[in-house]
Amino acid sequence: MREKKIYILAILGTILMVATMYDILVRMPDEAQQGPIGKMLLVHVPAAFAAFTFYGVAVWNSIRFLAKKDFHADSLAVSNVEVAQVFTLINLVTGSLWGHIIWGIWWTWDFRLTSQFMCFMLYLGYLLMRPAVADATQRATMSAILAILAVADIPLVFFAIRLRDARMQHPSPVLETGKMDPSWWPPFLLMWVVYLLIGGALISLRLRQETVRREMDSLRRELHAI
């Protein structure tokens, strides 16, 4: 049943991605001021939104694990964090490529770039720590705590950099100024859906691996007990 779900999500995501990318790359006219690279926004921003969605699910499941000691919630949390990291990386790399062409630099310590990068680093620590804890309960608890501490830190990073340097280099046509052309909204939202579908497939796949690993660990413990 779960395998069928993975296939459906992956196939749907791929078909929709091909159609949306065709629309973005071939049918849509170039951005008036930036040229073709302006279309990067339609790949870059939905990746950040998808990453935040998956981080949100991960933190919610981390809280659920602490409250109920449900290992399925821990597996869901780690699967979501891993996939969110992939989308954060897509967001950072596409942003950097865009920045290189428009700003002439690969990177700047703007508050959005910095907080996104710190988000990546904090959850990288989360993923690095997990294999270093032998006991399953300890691993799940420590991971849940790290996920909660990290999510509390990200808004602070954002405000700290904003406080330090109020000059805003990063453009904000989607969330703050709302100046994105109305014809850009459908491909923008579709890309978000594409990421959610493909991310959902990857999470389901990763969840299956985690469940199998947990079962193997429990069998191994039983074998040791015998």
Binding site: G125, A132, I145, A152, L156
Partner: protein
């Protein structure tokens, strides 16, 4: 509540007494802070004005590096002879145990900072005495932020393989907002500006409040497992 706070002070006193007898972490942290200061003096060959521009950054990098050595010891000290299990099984609540550990680490890190501050001024030709008291206030606030998060991570990593490596990997990214506030404010204070520091001070205080509350709440989950 009062009894629990007293227990926290007892834990802090126990840790401080143990540390001042052996001076293991203290000596290592002071020496480390001095070595980093010397390295910085060679790394940056700057004019006096330029040096003041990066003075806050230099200072807090030294403090946070030294802080890692101090906080790393706070829970690992209890691992031999299963002392941690005994402490967790004792009638002291987890938050009081954590608070005691945080107070002792905070005191030790403050000692390291106060010892290395004159050397920092001496090596870099920076006059720090003029604004010592406001700067001391900032040191108290920011050091509390470093220790409270550091001790929480020390508890998280106590049973982790390669914990000495994992602690900075987890701890430093979390400290970024605190360090930005502290570095900016230190630079401004060392330049003699004691007035325009309110936003940075607020940032450091908010960081302290959020992470003290979160750590005190979450420590129960960390220690019980």
């Amino acid at each position: 509540m009062k009894r629990d706070l007293l227990s926290a002070l007892f834990i802090a006193r126990k840790d401080l007494r143990t540390e001042f007898r052996t001076k293991e972490a203290l000596n290592a942290a002071v020496s480390f802070a001095l070595v980093v200061l010397v390295l910085f003096s060679f790394a940056f060959d700057l004019e006096r004005d330029e040096l003041y521009d990066i003075s806050g950054g230099l200072l807090w990098i030294v403090y946070v590096f030294a802080g890692s050595l101090i906080v790393n010891r706070s829970f690992t000290r209890e691992v031999p002879n299963d002392c941690l299990d005994v402490l967790v099984a004792s009638p002291v609540p987890a938050w009081a145990l954590f608070l005691g550990k945080a107070i002792s680490s905070f005191t030790l890190l403050m000692v390291v900072e106060l010892v290395s501050l004159p050397f920092y001024g001496l090596f870099n030709n920076i006059i720090w005495l003029k604004t010592f008291w406001p700067h001391f206030g900032l040191m108290l606030l920011a050091t509390w932020g470093i220790t409270v998060t550091g001790v929480a991570f020390s508890a998280v990593t106590v049973n982790v393989r390669l914990r000495e490596l994992m602690l900075p990997v987890l701890h430093y990214p979390l400290l970024i907002p605190l360090l930005i506030g502290a570095m900016e404010m230190s630079t401004s204070l060392l330049r003699g500006d004691v007035v325009n520091n309110e936003p940075n001070l607020r940032l450091v205080a908010v960081f302290d409040a959020i992470f003290t509350a979160l750590s005190l709440y979450l420590i129960e989950f960390i220690l019980v497992t």
